[in-house]
């Protein structure tokens, strides 16, 4: 189950961003996950919660923004929802020269820090 590796990679990147921004705690991480990213959101959620313990992300929420997979045919210009399991050959002309427009995303869009950063900073300095 590589969702643990994915969760750890997310945590590592958010920890780094937290250090750069002087943030003490994370409230929410917004993750974009494409339909064809090969990630099971429920498994990721489970691993995320486990792996967040004892980090600045402890108690934070992982919000997944799903991205539907779409493709386009180079020959006839048709665009379609790829679906799952995916259908990447053109449903119009049957052509194989197609391209994926969306669906492989796996990226951290946004991080929301927990409230009271001023207090947290005062604690650190005091």
């Amino acid at each position: 189950m590589h969702e643990m590796s994915i969760a750890l990679a997310v945590i590592e990147q958010v920890e780094q961003a937290a250090a750069e921004h002087g943030a003490q705690a994370v409230e929410e991480v917004l993750l974009q996950v494409g339909e064809l990213a090969g990630v099971v959101p429920q498994a990721l959620d489970f691993c995320y919660e486990l792996a967040c313990a004892d980090t600045v992300l402890a108690g934070s929420t992982l919000t997944v923004e799903p991205v539907a997979a779409r493709a386009r045919c180079v020959d006839c210009g048709r665009e379609w929802a790829v679906g799952m399991p995916p259908d990447l050959a053109c449903p119009g002309c049957g052509g194989a020269r197609t391209e994926l427009l969306a669906g492989r995303e796996l990226q951290i869009l946004q991080v929301r820090w927990a409230a009271d950063p001023v207090l947290a900073r005062a604690d650190q300095e005091g």
């Binding site: 189950m1 590589h2 590796s5 994915i6 990679a9 997310v10 990147q13 958010v14 961003a17 921004h21 002087g22 943030a23 993750l31 064809l36 990213a37 090969g38 990630v39 493709a71 799952m84 399991p85 995916p86 259908d87 990447l88 050959a89 052509g95 194989a96 020269r97 197609t98 391209e99 994926l100 427009l101 969306a102 492989r104 995303e105 796996l106 990226q107 951290i108 869009l109 946004q110 991080v111 929301r112 820090w113 409230a115 950063p117």
Partner: protein
């Protein structure tokens, strides 16, 4: 301070960067890596053993690295071909990552090696997401696994440069529907080459070696539709989005 920050950071960026570095480092010494993905029991090791033996006969300097969750049986089998073989135990990790592979190659990969075959952990889900710095990615399925394998594991088959069907000597016995399998592969990976093989009868044996040598010689590889689309934010620096 701002309560939110837009990161726009690809989760696997670090692995992808390491993979690209490894691909460049291998190319600089005249080596390409071939990443082999399959389920456990697909006959991948048996086929690879034949291909390595053939490479040795033809005087092609090859090496093989085989990754397993816990046992060392595959390395013993591949070692019979007489080429350098290294076993890597992942201690339960379901896939190899580029940094891990690089660590295992350091100090081991013979300088003369032209083709490095990497037998990934037997699993069609997890390894599919990790670029190892390979120049040729091969997905394998045996006739005994059923025709819908490509639909069940679309990422593994969708990102492959070459698909090999193994154990065709058993096709009749298990009622393998070749046309249905091919249709399913083309659905997730239009245009990819599919080759039927049997380590037992010798059908298609040598194809893997030939295709790898072609890539080494600079021939273009198939570009899977599912490969990351152009203009994608993947791996792009933060500055591009702020």
């Amino acid at each position: 301070m701002c309560r939110t920050v837009d990161l726009q950071q690809a989760v696997l960026a670090r692995n992808d960067d390491s993979a690209q570095e490894l691909r460049t480092a291998l190319a600089a010494r005249g080596t390409i890596a071939v990443n082999l993905l399959s389920s456990p029991g697909s006959g991948k090791t048996e086929l690879l053993e034949r291909e390595l033996g053939l490479a040795r006969e033809r005087g092609v300097p090859v090496a093989a690295l085989t990754a397993d969750l816990a046992t060392e049986n595959d390395a013993l089998r591949l070692g019979r071909s007489g080429v350098p073989v290294k076993q890597v135990l992942t201690d339960g990790l379901c896939h190899l990552e580029a940094v891990m592979l690089r660590g295992h190659l350091d100090g081991w990969l013979p300088q003369a090696t032209r083709l490095l075959f990497v037998e990934n952990v037997g699993n069609l889900v997890c390894p599919a997401s990790y670029d190892l710095g390979e120049s040729l990615r091969v997905a394998l399925a045996s006739v005994t696994e059923g025709e819908d394998k490509p639909l069940k594991y679309p990422t593994a088959f969708g990102l492959a440069h070459l698909v090999l069907v193994t154990k065709t000597d058993l096709a009749a016995a298990v009622g393998f529907d070749e046309a249905a399998f091919l249709a399913n592969v083309r659905r997730v990976n239009p245009g990819v080459e599919v080759v039927l093989t049997s380590a037992r009868t010798g059908q298609g044996v040598g194809t893997l070696l030939d295709r790898a040598l072609a890539v080494l010689a600079g021939e273009p590889v198939h570009r899977p539709v599912m490969g990351r689309p152009a203009g994608h934010a993947h791996g792009a620096p933060l500055a591009d989005h702020s």
